[in-house]
């Protein structure tokens, strides 16, 4: 799932029975597995919805306008990711670097938004231990935030490699796989935003 050194495109050129790059296939399998992970977390949130015996309750505390902005930010980061991959594929490393960094930056803005949101909730009296809403909300969105953080680290690694001149069109597959991960994390957020914030 990690990428080979830039000078060794041998892996990409390897013959495969399905005609699909092995790393890409492994990543699709990984995403399938992750669906079950988030599926279990979201199901638990739904099962425990409305079961809290003490407040604060979701409608008292969730700030939909604020989270809509971070959702928009994350959606835009997916657009940047698409542009980054297109740039790397056509060998335009100048824009490749810009878009890779922009994607990571928007990811960091999202994480920043989550930090602000969590801090505010704690000030308003909602912690992990307060009630079932707190348990399920923080573990679900926290797991998602951890995924975004991993994605940001990954994107920054690619960006540094690009700055060093070690990332080029030969590594387009690596960028594509990073993009698969990033878009997946983004799609999961759309589901979380809908289930947790919009449908209260």
């Amino acid at each position: 799932m990690t990428h080979a050194a830039p000078a060794a495109p041998a892996v990409v050129a390897h013959h495969t029975s399905m005609g699909l790059d092995s790393r890409k296939m492994a990543f699709w399998a990984f995403i399938g597995s992750e669906c079950l992970l988030f599926g279990s977390l979201i199901s638990t949130y739904l099962i425990y919805k409305g079961k809290s015996v003490v407040g604060p309750y979701p409608h008292e505390i969730l700030n939909i306008p604020f989270t809509s902005v971070s959702t928009f930010d994350l959606l835009m980061s997916s657009l940047m990711m698409v542009l980054a991959l297109a740039a790397v594929q056509r060998g335009d490393m100048k824009w490749g670097k810009i878009w890779l960094f922009s994607t990571a930056l928007l990811g960091m803005v999202f994480i920043g938004g989550q930090v602000i949101e969590f801090t505010e909730f704690v000030h308003k009296g909602l912690t992990l231990q307060t009630n079932l809403f707190g348990c399920t909300f923080f573990v679900l969105t926290g797991t998602h935030g951890a995924h975004v953080t991993v994605g940001v680290l990954w994107l920054l690694t690619l960006w540094v490699r690009a700055l060093q001149g070690k990332l080029g069109p030969a590594n387009a597959m690596t960028v594509e796989i990073t993009g698969l991960y990033w878009h997946f994390v983004d799609v999961v957020w759309i589901v979380i935003f809908t289930v947790v914030y919009l449908i209260q």
Partner: protein
């Protein structure tokens, strides 16, 4: 890392401890899995012997109630996660690339990572036996003690204050990572690394069943991971996922656990079914009867395995609708399983049968699995299940399925493939002794448990009163358990003796149809001197339309690139148990050390030159 290139003359494999620590060769990793898992199998077996000695007579006093709880918890956990699954993995590793005509798995270093994570996770879990003094516990042992399915809310801090359950939930999370990584690896290997002409419907049955197993692993393990994460948060961070007073329901644990747990049953049995489907045709000199039907039943079992979990929870009282639906799906899943049994019997029918030890175990598998399957169907009906649940009847069932089924199947695989893996033929007379001792032993051990259970002896209770009238049956069961132990010693003696004096195995000692028999035993580091082109489902046999394929030349006509080893999978794997030590010891900085080790390992791994 170095790039070894095997020249025209096959190079001797690298020796020394370093070459094993850094190995990425699927064959060596397969052997490492085998011996590690066999070691854990012996530990789990010793735990079983202590349990059986305790129960040999009423009012036994060999161990107390608390130690007994630890013993049955660790016996179940060890056998399922540290013995049966990784013994299957040892065959996936060694045999699958050979059966599909590949030089290695798709991701050799990820494969090494899976092994090291498994080893470290297993050691972490078993360290609980002697870690008591570190936690100022009154006993030496702080082993997990709430049963292998760790029901909430018994596992909450309030009811299990010690580190016992912490070892369990952290160890299982580590082991899950190993299984998941191997799952992705083998799915890609089987789909993508097949030799030219090896279409999906030409894959050997063992490879097919492994593929289904890996899909079950990558979908089932995330669910138990989430269940364990909730438990971890409840125990360490004061959340209320399984706390009734906060409005939660401990039933959530049961649903999540069995959503994983029932597919897990098929994760354990499907590889054994695959092995038996290889052994029976070879020793009947007949193609597997209804190959496509066996494959499709395996796939069907994989899907249906997801629809039956609540039959573990009939006693909960989920209501008549849920109970009826899960009873129906449970009875339904017996159909594809029954289809396979008929296919195996039909394969033997009219065959040119050679009664090798491997065939004995394969036929033993069919017979024992039928008994286990039939007692399983009796639990499918909620009214009868209510009589059986939490009694020894269930213990009898699970042991007929997992010992009579999976272990018998795995031993069939060991006798079948050991010559390929070691280059030595095992002694057949010793093998027969092993088989008959084990076969008689397991029936003595587990058959009486059906009666013991129906007569009312509950499971997981450390002793029983003489008035219950099950003392004699329990004594028989204990004798059987010790017979099994003797049979395992015979097996180990067989491996040790033939390793020194046994006759050397040819490429194909059994006349097998699949690709692994076309290359030397043990295979050279590059497996195939020339990647074969497959034109038939039974490439090495003469069929109506195809002659047998020619064996690859003994000497490679062109140099073959063989990847060198790598330290980084092991370094990355080391990060996980270090991270797990942080909650165990309540020291925050340890988690950063572990995470740093993991990250460092992954980065070095990602950027080292390593050509597959």
């Amino acid at each position: 890392m170095s790039h070894a290139t095997a020249s025209a003359a096959p190079a001797a494999p690298a020796a020394g401890v370093r070459s094993w620590l850094t190995t990425t060769d699927h064959k060596r990793i397969g052997l490492l899995y085998f011996w590690t898992a066999f070691g854990f199998f012996l530990i789990g077996g010793i735990e079983a012997l202590v349990i059986r000695t305790q129960l040999a007579q009423p009012n036994g006093h060999l161990v107390g109630a608390h130690t007994y709880n630890e013993l049955f918890t660790m016996h179940g956990t060890t056998m399922i996660f540290l013995a049966l699954m990784p013994l299957g993995a040892s065959f996936f590793n060694y045999i699958i690339p050979l059966q599909i005509g590949a030089r290695d798995v798709a991701f050799p270093r990820l494969n090494a990572f899976s092994y090291w994570v498994f080893l470290l996770g297993g050691l972490f879990l078993n360290a609980s036996w002697i870690a008591g003094p570190l936690f100022h516990a009154p006993h030496l042992s702080v082993a997990p003690d709430d049963g292998w399915f760790g029901y909430a809310n018994l596992t909450e801090r309030q009811f299990s204050p010690g580190p016992n359950i912490d070892f369990w939930l952290l160890g299982l999370q580590i082991l899950g990572i190993s299984s998941l990584a191997a799952g992705f690896n083998f799915i890609v290997t089987i789909l993508n690394l097949r030799a030219p002409g090896m279409k999906m419907m030409r894959l050997p049955t063992f490879t097919w069943m492994t593929l289904v197993t890996q899909f079950l692993i990558i979908t089932a393990f995330p669910v138990i991971t989430v269940a364990l994460v909730f438990l971890m948060f409840d125990r360490f961070f004061g959340t209320h996922f399984y706390v009734h007073e906060a409005g939660a329901t401990p039933l959530l644990w049961q649903h999540l656990f069995w959503l994983f747990g029932h597919p897990e049953v098929y994760i354990l049995i499907l590889p054994a079914m695959g092995i038996v489907s290889e052994v029976l045709p070879t020793f009947s000199r007949k193609p597997l009867f209804g190959y496509p039907v066996v494959v499709y039943s395996g796939i069907l079992i994989g899907f249906m395995g997801w629809s039956v979990w609540s039959h573990h929870m009939f006693a909960v009282g989920l209501g008549p609708i849920a109970d009826s639906v899960f009873a129906a799906t449970t009875m339904l899943i017996a159909v594809p399983t029954g289809v396979k049994i008929f296919n195996w019997i039909a394969t033997l029918w009219g065959g040119d049968i050679r009664g090798t030890t491997a065939l004995h175990f394969a036929v033993g598998f069919i017979a024992m699995f039928i008994i286990g399957g039939l007692s399983g169907v009796t639990h499918a009906s909620p009214p009868t299940d209510l009589q059986q649940t939490d009694t020894y009847y269930v213990v009898a069932h699970i042991h007929y399925v997992l010992f009579g089924g999976t272990i018998m199947g795995l031993f069939a695989g060991m006798y079948y493939w050991w010559p390929k893996m070691s280059g030595r033929l095992l002694s057949e007379p010793l093998g027969k002794w092993h088989f008959w001792l084990q076969f008689v032993g397991m029936n003595l051990a587990f058959f009486p448990m059906h009666f013991i259970g129906l007569l009312g002896m509950p499971r997981r209770i450390y002793t029983y009163a003489p008035e219950l009238g099950v003392g004699d049956l329990n004594l028989v069961s204990t004798v059987g358990a010790f017979l099994i132990a003797v049979s395992i010693l015979v097996f180990l003696f067989n491996i040790w003796r033939t390793g020194r004096h046994g006759p050397r195995a040819s490429n194909d000692p059994w006349g097998g149809a699949t690709l692994e028999w076309s290359i030397p035993s043990p295979p050279p580091v590059y497996n195939f001197s020339v990647i074969p082109t497959v034109t038939s489902r039974l490439p090495r046999w003469r069929t109506e339309r195809h002659g047998p394929m020619a064996d690859p030349p003994a000497v490679p006509p062109a140099p073959i690139h063989v990847p060198g080893g790598s330290w980084w999978p092991m370094v990355a794997a080391l990060g996980l148990p270090v991270m797990a030590l942080a909650p165990l010891t309540h020291t925050l900085w340890v988690v950063f050390v572990g995470a740093a080790l993991l990250l460092f390992g992954i980065y070095r791994w990602a950027f080292e030159p390593f050509e597959i």
